[in-house]
């Protein structure tokens, strides 16, 4: 049945080459953990992507209940966590996942570094990877304010003070991030917008570039 639906569509719009292009490619022996177990280090890129997908999905669902408003933010998080079915699980996925993403990016970066995969012709992808790392840090920083509890408030205060130490433009930068002179309603809406629209957009765009370049250049050779 499924096969016939697929054939019917394929007959008309020829989708096979599309997924073939994505899925059909050599996996060299030196990256296959089935051949050398130590090749599991090559999985960290994929695991990073997997956890990013979980962050995006769980974040989209959290946004169904969360409100970025200083009066209601904390109450909405408490409500979604304690009164909505699986709230503790979904918030837990996002909360712990945020740390897991950063650990995975770090391990992936170590693999790329120690296999020398950043060398010619893959320099641009190293740079894209570093940008991805910064974006993920940015997601962690902006997301941390959203529950609007004490830890959120003081962590953001520290973050803004770090921004102030930037020479010359430090004060401007901090005010721009906070949307004013102090951490308040404007900071929360701003961090929310950055957390759920700006950074995820940039993240997906850069991930696409990252993957396209990997397919163009292939995986780097054995040591």
């Amino acid at each position: 049945m499924l096969q016939r639906i697929y054939d019917w569509i394929d007959d008309r719009v020829d989708v096979t080459p599309l997924w073939r292009d994505v899925a059909d490619h050599e996996v060299p022996e030196h990256v296959n953990p089935g051949h050398h177990f130590s090749a599991f280090v090559y999985c960290f890129g994929g695991l990073t992507f997997f956890t990013v997908v979980i962050q995006i999905l769980s974040g989209m669902f959290l946004t169904m209940y969360y409100v970025p408003d200083i009066v209601n933010a904390h109450a909405s998080v408490e409500y979604l966590q304690s009164d909505v079915a699986f709230g503790m699980i979904v918030r837990g996925m996002h909360h712990w996942g945020a740390s897991v993403v950063i650990v995975m990016v770090f391990l992936h970066t170590l693999r790329v570094f120690f296999t020398g995969s950043y060398k010619k012709p893959r320099e641009i992808n190293w740079v894209v990877g570093v940008l991805l790392f910064f974006i993920i840090l940015g997601l962690g920083f902006t997301g941390y304010l959203l529950p609007w509890d004490m830890k959120a408030y003081f962590a953001t205060q520290v973050g803004l003070e770090i921004a102030e130490t930037v020479p010359v433009v430090g004060d401007l930068l901090s005010n721009l991030l906070a949307g004013g002179e102090f951490i308040g309603a404007q900071t929360l809406t701003r961090f929310f917008a950055i957390h759920v629209f700006f950074l995820p957009g940039a993240l997906l765009g850069l991930i696409a570039i990252h993957f396209i370049m990997i397919r163009r250049q292939g995986i780097s050779g054995p040591l």
Binding site: L57, S58, M64, Y79, D83, V84, F86
Partner: protein, 166 residues
């Protein structure tokens, strides 16, 4: 060799991978979907009756009364005020919702000079009889919705969800 088996090596791998992959994906997706659809699965809040008017104030001419109650929005409790048209039909209290059954505008009693004894909707000139019955030939296709009511110690208590008549 290959032909001796009902399931080929390739098929077995496909099933195994799709099975495990599907199981893992379900483990990730299931909690999120259940989380998202929770509002339609949560037990309906009990419909507490609200004190709206004194029976002595009611006549056989519909009058607008305010119905005030608290609505639970999850992390916020909202103070809601709704209007209800109430009149007596003999001994019976009739409490009608002012929401037009055509497209949801708000009806008023007796505001159409040509039909002072009917409810009138200004949006598409829908009309309803005193008991809420829609007047044939005007846009609404069903009567005004009616509130469940109870009389306690001379006060009229109403449920907060009007339901269709008929």
């Amino acid at each position: 060799m290959e032909k001796d088996h009902n399931v080929s090596r390739r098929q077995f791998l496909t099933y195994a991978l799709l099975g495990t992959g599907g199981f893992m994906a379900a483990g990730v997706i299931m909690p999120m979907v259940r989380f998202g659809v929770d509002p339609i699965l949560q037990a309906d809040a009990e419909d507490d009756m609200v004190d709206v008017a004194a029976v002595d104030d009611l006549t056989d001419v519909p009058q607008a009364f305010d119905m005030e109650y608290e609505q639970d929005h999850g992390w916020h409790v909202e103070q809601v005020t709704e209007t209800v048209w109430i009149h007596m039909e003999g001994d019976e209290v009739v409490a009608l919702s002012p929401t037009c059954t055509h497209l949801g505008c708000t009806v008023n009693w007796g505001t159409d000079p040509d039909n002072p004894e009917q409810f009138f909707c200004p949006c598409h000139f829908g009309r309803f009889e005193r008991d809420g019955t829609n007047v044939q030939g005007t846009p609404p296709t069903e009567p005004l919705h009616r509130y469940e009511h109870e009389v306690r110690d001379g006060r009229v208590f109403l449920g907060t969800n009007p339901s269709p008549q008929i």
